[in-house]
Amino acid sequence: MFKSVYNWIDERLDVTPIWRDVADHEVPEHVNPAHHFSAFVYCFGGLTFFITVIQILSGMFLTMYYVPDIINAYNSVEYLQTQVAFGQIVRGMHHWGASLVIVMMFLHTMRVFFTGSYKAPREMNWVVGMLLFFVMLGLGLTGYLLPWDNKAYFATKVTLEIANSVPWLGPIIKEFLQGGTIVGAETLTRFFALHVFFLPAVLLVLMVGHFIMIRRQGISGPL
């Protein structure tokens, strides 16, 4: 059944070459853990991608209950965590995944650094990778405020003070991020918008660039 539906679409749209191009390619021996177990270090990039997918999915589901409003934000998080079936699991995925994605990204960066994979012709991909890293940190920062509890509130105060310490532009950056003169209702909606729309959009664009470059330039050779 599945096959005939697929064939019906494929006859009309010729999709096979597309997914072949995306998914069907050989993994060189030196990056395949089945050949050399130590090659597992090459998995961290893929793991970062995998956790990012989980983050996007669990985040989408969390917005079914969450509201970015100073009166209801904390209550909605508490409600989805304690009253909704599997709420603890879904928020748990998002909460722990957020930390794990930073860890995986760091390990991936270490691998690229110590295998010298950032060298020509792959310098651009290193730069895009660094941008991805900063976007990911931005997602972590903006997501941290959303539960609107004491920890979130004061952590955001601290990060905004850090932004404030930028020479010359500091106070402007701080007020822009804060959306006003205090950490309050407008900060919460602003961080929500950044966390849910702006930063993920940038992240996806950068990820596409990252992956296209890997395919164009190939995986770097063995040490």
């Binding site: 089945a34 989980i54 999915l57 669990s58 589901f61 079914m64 209950y65 209801n72 209550n75 909605s76 508490e78 409600y79 989805l80 009253q83 909704v84 079936a85 599997f86 709420g87 699991i89 879904v90 995925m93």
Partner: protein
């Protein structure tokens, strides 16, 4: 893992039995294992999303509305407050009911929500149609019993009603059974 023993051909096949190729077996096994693992994150998220429709609908309690002695033959509007819990948000909703009694003294309470498209009807609020419920939105009309006379497809809903210690208590809204 090793490619050396791929060339092992089975010497004889039992007749009439469809053999599964190694490729097919691996495809099913890997596909099945992947699907099983994908269920790990997917099932909690789906169950999380459908949670509200699986919640037990609470049997509404009765709310004290008005003294029995104040009810007349002419329908009168009474409003009452309902404590409602909307997820994490608790609030008070104000509901209204048109209450009257018939010749035998039996008390009826009608919901003012028009059965056409959900506007709010009023009693005797259109000079052209005296002693009728009239809806200002699309001109739906109902008689004293709540029977639909024009536009609306169904009679006005009734409140569940309870009399206790000389007071009228109202509960859930239910379809009108008094009129056909």
């Amino acid at each position: 893992m090793s490619n050396q023993n791929d060339h092992h051909e089975p010497s004889e096949k039992p007749p009439g039995r469809k053999e599964m190729s190694r490729r097919q077996f691996l495809a099913y096994t890997l596909g099945g294992a992947t699907a099983f693992m994908a269920m790990g994150p997917v099932l909690p998220m789906v169950r999380f999303a459908v949670d509200p429709i699986l919640h037990k609908k609470g049997e509404g309690e009765f709310i004290k509305v008005v003294e029995e002695s104040k009810i007349t033959d002419e329908p009168q509007e009474f409003s009452f407050e309902l404590q409602q819990q909307d997820g994490w948000y608790a609030s008070k909703a104000t509901l209204t009911a048109w209450i009257r009694k018939d010749e035998q003294g039996k008390i009826y309470a009608l919901s003012p929500i028009c059965k056409h498209l959900g506007c709010t009807v009023g009693w005797n609020n259109d000079k052209n149609f005296p002693d009728e419920y009239h809806c200002p939105c699309h001109g739906a009309r109902y008689n004293k019993l709540g029977k639909n006379l024009a536009v609306a497809p169904k009679p006005l809903d009734t409140y569940k009603l309870k009399l206790q210690d000389g007071w009228v208590y109202l509960g859930q809204v239910e379809p009108n059974t008094e009129v056909k």
